[in-house]
Symmetry: C2
Subunit: 325 residues, 2 copies
């Protein structure tokens, strides 16, 4: 939905012309490969939007930080896919699947270093400040991924811990991308924080919506298999809330569905949705998503620039939160 955005084109053009050495080929081919799968490029676009919000129009000065965010995001995809044993990414083989785990570990490492190389191309007087935010975000993304893996083997995950996990694993990168832009535009710390908070809250709402759409999305437009999370027993917000609210009856139905091997896929999804409806966790998920969306909009409202300058970010948020897939 953002592929034709001018920022998206700048980002894609830079990545298309970026030259990585030919050899060692098993180090650089996977980097070329993952970057060619592209995706929506929302995160690097946020750097431009954060800068523009505070009046920075010079895209050349913003581009390196934007690319650093995109490289970091792709590094994290390569490594997460190893850890999650994921065979597919954006409909294509994951790096570890196409090559092997060692190649994925090392090319991911190199791509993380390339992210810092881009950061080093930012205006010299800004590098220190950018580095502090970038590193903090990068560490929290690692922490979020570890929490996510820890949850897999835990009997009970608290709602608050789940929100904290998605905050670190996915949302801080959105907030951080916006903040890098704000730094490049000389925004003060208070304004930086408001914009960061806007991004983080929007990110949490977006992730909650992702959990929701996996169950309730329109199969025509969703892109992935609807009910996929239910079928692989993924600990989504809906599942965690169901565990928390389950009565004796619904608890035994839940256990049956989680363990049951003689239940067809369609029946498992149907019965789980029924359980969600009985416990009203679908409505609860909608409500909490709405709460984080409003928090995000409130932060955006507080930012000390004209409403007109906020239009771009408001459109982005509206588009993300009303998306059907």
């Amino acid at each position: 939905m953002f592929e034709q955005h001018p920022y998206g084109k700048l980002i894609s053009a830079y990545i298309d012309q970026a030259e990585f050495p030919d050899r060692p080929s098993d180090l650089y081919d996977p980097i070329r490969y993952i970057l060619s799968l592209s995706g929506k490029r929302i995160r690097p676009m946020l750097v431009f939007m954060g800068a523009k919000l505070f009046g920075k129009e010079d895209t050349a000065e913003v581009l390196p930080a934007s690319i650093a965010i995109e490289y970091f995001h792709n590094f994290s995809l390569i490594h997460d896919d190893i850890m999650d044993k994921a065979p597919l990414r954006r409909g294509k083989d994951t790096v570890h699947q196409k090559w092997n785990d060692n190649v994925a570990i090392l090319s991911g490492d190199a791509l993380l270093v390339k992210a810092y190389q881009e950061l080093g191309k930012c205006p010299a007087d800004k590098i220190g400040e950018l580095l502090v935010v970038f590193n903090q975000v990068a560490l929290e993304v690692c922490e979020g991924q570890q929490m996510d893996m820890d949850f897999e083997t835990m009997d009970n995950v608290a709602e608050g811990d789940y929100i904290e996990m998605i905050r670190r694993k996915t949302s801080v990168l959105l907030g951080g991308a916006l903040q890098l832009g704000a730094i490049l535009a000389n925004a003060d710390k208070v304004q930086q924080q408001l914009l960061y908070d806007f991004g983080v809250n929007l990110g949490i709402a977006f992730q909650l919506q992702d959990d929701f759409l996996d169950v309730y999305g329109d199969p025509e437009t969703f892109g992935k298999q609807v009910g996929g999370d239910i079928l692989c027993n993924k600990k989504t917000f809906l599942r965690i809330k169901t565990e928390e609210l389950a009565t004796a009856d619904s608890r035994s139905e839940l256990d049956l569905l989680l363990q049951g091997s003689d239940i067809s896929d369609d029946e498992k999804v149907f019965r789980m949705k029924k359980l969600y409806a009985q416990l009203a966790v679908d409505q609860y998920a909608e409500d909490i998503k709405q709460r984080y969306t409003e928090l995000a909009y409130n932060k955006l409202d507080e930012i000390a620039v004209s409403d007109a300058q906020k239009t771009e970010l408001r459109i982005l948020a509206d588009t993300l939160m009303h998306r059907k897939r």
Copy 2:
């Protein structure tokens, strides 16, 4: 041999008091663990020595870059050990062995980010320049590790490619550590390059000696099993040179030793050493090690500071190159 050096104490004291979060424990415990295994801390000491060479005595300003090098080195050990399936590191379980591969991937990633966090604590006007060198070194280390893995499955590795592999995998980090120190001491580019070249050439000589000592070291002082590289068919400099120089007779003896499963360990080491002697690859290895050592000393000679100021680095080089283990 350097544990009691004042720089070594500064480094250890900093690492001992460094606070990593308690949770997620599987992210930070492995970092605390690998750093506690310590090692010789030669690389971070080189940052101090590089700075001191050009008159920088303020250790507080040099410490963050020194720690960044040590964190980077330990990150690379964690990930290399996964890729090499190594069970032991410094006589203790490797991280992936003590925990698992996923924990090792992610805690390694976090430690790499921590390295950049330390770099961000360096004097603000130096961060950009430090980052350029650090990133270049980090990428070359990744390239060297990939080359090393590529060599495992290659029939023939050229001597020049082997040297290039050890240059990137291990030597550039020594040169880069020294150069970070030189940058912090305001040395100009020419002086930085000379010091970098000293470190890189010394590193190559050191690695060649490592290959040599694995075969010819004194079992009393070597610390590892003498002949270990021969027993696991490792493609060391001696092995590669033997492949290159082998006559028909020695070629069949070599193949026999590489494949033979009914040869005892002692006999395999004995016969491989005999082969090395016949082809004079032991002498060749000595000669080329000597050549890189001299190259290193020549670079040190060229540096435009007094001989007295070079004493510390000369002692370091002498100690490293005459070491028995």
